[in-house]
Symmetry: C2
Subunit: 163 residues, 2 copies
């Protein structure tokens, strides 16, 4: 995977933070992880990409960031957040991947990436791996609502372009 492919996803994170979460955000240094990598958060929301690009997009949050972002996204108070955290972070990764997906096109304006359903993993010591020939790109962010990270792996399948 090429590092420039991550840009539409990074732009989507900026746009999510500025428009829907009304929070300042700054990206850190892009990292590469081959094979296994610690998820770096208490909660990870994943969504599968298929079509011309096959892969996975993950947002990993410490619990505090997840609660703050979900509270802001859904405009709910502390007491309602607990039951909504999974749905909320699933929605966050759906927004980021969906808005990035719209920026990939095959020239005639049709989408070349399909999205799966988001899945959320909770648990302290998650390590996310992927087939060893593929690479995860990892972008840490710091925001007014706390740190989080965006992690992406995908492979282009040019033979599927346009379908």
């Amino acid at each position: 995977m090429k590092t420039e492919w991550i840009n539409p996803f990074v732009e989507s994170v900026y746009s999510l933070c500025s428009t829907m979460l009304s929070c300042g955000v700054e990206r850190g240094q892009l990292g590469l992880a081959k094979g296994q990598t610690a998820a770096g958060g208490d909660i990870t929301a994943l969504i599968g990409l298929s079509g011309m690009a096959r892969g996975m997009v993950a947002l990993s949050f410490p619990a505090g960031t997840a609660r703050a972002m979900v509270g802001r996204l859904l405009s709910i108070g502390e007491e309602e957040i607990d039951e909504s955290v999974s749905d909320g972070v699933a929605e966050l990764v759906n927004i980021v991947a969906g808005s990035a997906k719209a920026k990939f096109s095959n020239g005639n304006g049709s989408d070349i990436i399909s999205l799966g359903l988001p899945t959320v993993i909770h648990g302290g010591s998650q390590i996310i791996g992927c087939p060893s020939h593929s690479t995860w790109l990892d972008v840490p962010f710091s925001s007014d609502l706390g740190p989080f990270s965006l992690r992406i792996t995908f492979e282009l399948e040019p033979t599927k372009g346009g379908n």
Copy 2:
């Protein structure tokens, strides 16, 4: 999601065990999990589905089962298994989902499901959640190589049939 949609995946597990792993396998009782559910294993391999069916397929293994199955799948010895476990379980979920995918068709023989890239999660206390309106179907298996479980969530999107 309807329970009969899980059958192609269950058949794929049987076929994987009998042909590629040469091990006996028996399925347990189908369970339903709404919202969050413990992954029930040390290692979980996930693959996203998109297209007419959007969702996620997960295979969860205790470490012993994962090692035994990967050793058998790749015909490798104990000393090589450690570095191959992630790739091996990723391949297992890819085989199960790929072979089930071929059984869903839109009537003119073309596939209606696209697969993403497999992702592997390691870690003791994983809880896998999904948007609260969707449901995971959970099928436990016992096999000669140890217990494991198949977990699936998906939603059909009829408007996308054939694309």
